[in-house]
Amino acid sequence: MSVLLYAETENGIFKKAAFEVASYAKGVADALGTNVVAVSVNANDASELGKYGVQKVLNISNESLNSFKAKTYTTIITEAAKQENSDVVILSSSANSKYISGLLAGQLKAAIASNVVKLPVSTSPLTVERTAFTNKAFQQTVLNTDIKIISVSSNAYGIIENEVTAEVVDFSVSPADDSIEITNIDKATDKVSIADAEVVVSGGRGLKGPENWNLIEDLADVLGAATACSKPVSDMGWRPHDEHVGQTGKPVASNLYIAIGISGAIQHLAGINASKVKVVINTDPEAPFFKAADYGVVGDAFEVVPELIEKLKAFKASNA
């Protein structure tokens, strides 16, 4: 028996999601009275996971696995689950983990629940609560197979320290016959991604045109935030598609989401509602976003945002 988690790395360093998934796995293992085992690929310091309650890390060191390949990584997790006799496998909601999740469910013939937001509500039978209707509801789901997979929503459970000493074990699997070849990776290395960001600054049609996006970028700069936008903004080509957030775009589950010149249409809100604290800046006090937000400023973005940037800079300087 064990709870297995897949701890994602990027350039050898664990992603924040890995620590959250480890914390969650520890919670599940405690409820089941079993151990936490992690599997990772090319982690520089796999023992780091001990901080979150992981007792054992199966780490693969293999240069040829530096770039993520879904089939190969799925096989790695499958083999680890078999070796460790895992009853539950925990994944994050990163793009790569979501890519793996269905393949893994197929390979392990495992029941799977996606977008799980808290520890299981019951362990026998294993029952979890997950979001449905794009954050507009929750649904309880009973997982009925021997091996079960839980995909945890980003930033829902949080990171919880639980220091133990993690034993790091070298692991290897024979590579899957992966007939997908990566020919190009186009990734901004100097920018935080929406998925990993603690803070997201998002602009809507109220900003009038792409030439005004320096407001969004400058604010994001001060906050170390990722930039995002509403759907019409990406449809009109003011911003690239990968910044489109909402029901049909990327989901956002940041600690702070700042919406500027965004009305707060139901499709927009659905996708960003998992964010913890929401701020809206909008000229129209009737904009629906004010009903969803925690803090609001009724005002013109072109005046409020420069002011906010100045005040934040001053705040940073005095707290440095």
Partner: protein
């Protein structure tokens, strides 16, 4: 090239979400249903393959008879045949295994599903399907070209994109980017008339294996009201975000 597009029949994005029967069933009262947006992008890309490369396009849904108008809409947009597996789509594994049965007997080269359906947001049918078929698989696919049996796909990753080269048979989980919003088609009168004559085959499910049991629904706690900050007092906003919300 034979293409199969998986169509999820979902509540319109503006629907009120309510539950009935002790919160175990979604309340469909007054709800209009649409083609799942991610699937519609895929279907539109499939039409491009049909028109430019002579592909044939079938659509499939696992569902009861109430999903037929959604399948007819796909036919009106230009799909050649529709298949409905006559069963309640109880869980991701069940849906994937039903589609896999049809896909095997139909010898499809390319199966286009969506990244996720906007009702249950599971996002795993496509991966399970690929695994059941032993086909190649690209998720969060935002671009697809096919040349002979070689496919070039663009996948959205956290913080960017990657280009992948693979071969048919291929399953993708698609989304916006496969085509643009402005490429989506509204069926015209001729399309709607023709759709009435196109085949909509109803097949019975194979087996009934499921892996999960759906339990009751609940709704998030109502949110407290917004704290308004005067536009002339932005210091207060910074202060609140720091001291009260503790996010900066």
């Amino acid at each position: 090239m034979k293409i199969l597009v998986c169509i999820s029949h979902v509540p319109d994005t503006t629907s009120k979400i309510n539950f009935v029967e002790n919160d175990t069933q979604f309340d469909t009262n007054g709800v209009s249903f649409i083609i799942n947006p991610n699937d519609e992008f895929g279907l539109t890309r499939a039409m491009w393959f049909k028109e430019k490369q002579g592909a044939s396009v079938d659509v499939i849904n696992v569902g009861d008879a109430t999903t037929e108008p959604t399948l007819r809409k796909c036919l009106a947009i230009g799909a050649d045949n529709a298949i409905r597996v006559n069963a309640t789509p109880t869980d991701s594994f069940f849906v994937a295994s039903q589609i896999a049965e049809v896909a095997k007997s139909g010898n499809y080269d390319l199966i286009i599903a969506g990244r996720e359906s906007i009702d249950y947001n599971g996002g795993v049918v496509q991966g399970i399907l690929a695994e059941l078929l032993g086909a190649n698989f690209v998720n969060t696919c935002v671009g697809l070209e096919v040349e002979g049996t070689t496919a070039t796909a663009i996948r959205e990753i956290d913080g960017g994109k990657e280009t992948l080269k693979t071969s048919l048979p291929l399953v993708i989980g698609g989304q916006k980017g496969l085509v643009e919003e402005s490429d989506l088609r509204i069926p015209n009168m001729r399309g709607i008339m023709m759709a009435r004559k196109k085949p909509l085959n109803v097949v019975e499910p194979t087996g009934n294996e499921t892996h999960t049991t759906a339990g009751s629904f609940s709704k998030p706690e109502p949110k407290g009201s917004v704290t308004l900050v005067d536009a002339s007092n932005i210091d207060q906003l910074v202060d609140l975000l720091h001291k009260e919300a503790k996010v900066i």
